[in-house]
């Protein structure tokens, strides 16, 4: 970490390798498009590398990077709000989905994964973010409250609203999932 603060090339690359996947998945869930998520990833690491010298260890490095990523995703979301597309329009209605999935079938598994990911991506930004931080990135309530700069109680409320909304969106696909 100290080496990265001194702009050591190997240390910066190590930092990038260590957090790239997490930042990318947060960005992809947030912006919904691989090319734009790539832009966000690049912007985040540029800010991380530039801000490293000023990092004073008041939070963990992961929390600090997530906070930068969260701010970047939020900015990106503000600049380009995607039009709302209902889940059925992306996936087809329940009638079009094979109701008897074979658990060994790779295609069916990918289809189920895609349904859940699309449902998360269609949640409102604040809900989507808190779901991704908890279930994809595995952050605790306290860490989420530091990243999102709000009280743990607010995190809990948002999570409740997000899970209820997710359940509602996925209800027609419940048997398939």
């Amino acid at each position: 970490m100290r080496a990265a603060q001194d702009n050591d090339g190997h240390a910066l690359r190590h930092l990038y390798e260590a957090y790239r996947a997490q930042v990318y998945s947060l960005a992809l869930y947030s912006v919904g498009d691989p090319a734009q998520a790539q832009d966000v990833l690049q912007a985040v690491f540029l800010k991380v590398f530039r801000g490293l010298r000023g990092f004073r260890f008041h939070s963990t490095l992961a929390t600090w990077i997530y906070r930068i990523a969260h701010n970047e995703c939020r900015e990106h979301h503000r600049r380009s709000k995607p039009p709302f597309v209902p889940l059925e329009a992306v996936l087809g209605s329940m009638d079009e989905v094979d109701p008897k999935p074979n658990s060994h079938d790779q295609h069916a598994r990918r289809e189920r994964d895609r349904i859940i990911q699309q449902a998360v991506m269609q949640l409102p930004f604040q809900m989507r973010e808190v779901v991704v931080l908890k279930y994809v990135e595995g952050l605790s309530y306290d860490d989420m409250s530091r990243v999102l700069e709000c009280a743990p109680g607010t995190v809990a409320s948002r999570l409740n609203r997000a899970l209820a909304a997710l359940e509602e969106r996925l209800r027609p696909f419940k048997e398939f999932l």
Binding site: L12, R20, A21, S25, Q42, L46, F49, I116, S157, N160
Partner: protein
């Protein structure tokens, strides 16, 4: 009608994950026995939680393109120089700086300033009007049934308003709640009702000994060591003359 026990609803996810410590778990379960709306919410949260848990094992295409990978080395240099390699914002600015664009941007800035002044004014006016009724706007106080404290025993309506003297104000910092007794007549130890203000409904606790009208949801607490009527949660408190 949906339940106002936001404090307990916030604990449902830790409860589903088995992370809720014993006293809080028991309190939530007691409430669930009593509250159909919260049971329905718990079922929805459990389904949402189970689906969301699967996100951890789902992977997107691998992150990072070869272009960016190679650019990392360049970024290291850019960081050291404080340069802006990788972001072509300067070119964008030059393209945007036409006279027509500058005029349009100025108009937008002036419009935003105007809106800022109007919104600040309405916020200030809103604060001034919020004196006695704390959650005004969220509830219509006219819909609350006005009852004397002894009449609460025979009441069947959820929303009540009742008058009395404040005693035994107790703040629970950990729970974020304030509880107090509302007594009909402080001299003779007459009928009382226990009132609870809970997070996230924030209001200042009434002064001990003051006379107030309390608006809220009436419940009966049937715990072994209690067995009393409650106004829980308190939705508004209005000071009265003694």
């Amino acid at each position: 009608m949906s339940c106002w026990r936001f404090d307990l609803q916030k604990r449902m996810l830790p409860y589903l994950e088995g992370r809720l410590p014993e006293p809080k778990r028991a309190r939530l379960e007691r409430h669930l026995l009593d509250c159909e709306s919260c049971r329905a919410l718990l079922v929805r949260l459990r389904a949402g939680h189970q689906m969301a848990q699967r996100l951890a094992s789902l992977e997107f295409e691998s992150a990072g393109t070869p272009d960016f990978e190679s650019e990392i080395a360049g970024l290291e240099g850019a960081v050291a120089e404080g340069g802006t390699r990788g972001i072509a914002w300067r070119g964008w600015l030059e393209r945007l700086a036409t006279p027509r664009m500058v005029t349009a941007l100025s108009a937008v800035v002036l419009l935003q300033l105007g809106l800022l002044v109007v919104s600040n004014r309405s916020i200030l006016l809103g604060e001034r009007s919020r004196t006695s009724i704390v959650v005004a706007g969220a509830i219509d106080l006219a819909e609350f049934r006005q009852l004397a404290i002894p009449e609460l025993k025979s009441n069947t309506q959820p929303h009540v308003a009742t008058d009395g003297y404040v005693e035994d104000v107790h703040t629970d910092e950990e729970e974020g709640t304030v509880a107090f007794k509302l007594v009909q007549n402080p001299q003779n130890g007459s009928s009382f009702v226990v009132c609870e203000i809970m997070s996230p409904i924030r209001m200042a606790p009434p002064a001990d000994g003051s006379r107030v009208r309390v608006y809220g949801v009436e419940r009966y607490d049937a715990q072994q060591d209690r067995k009393w009527y409650e106004v829980n949660p308190v939705l508004s408190i209005v000071p009265l003359k003694p």
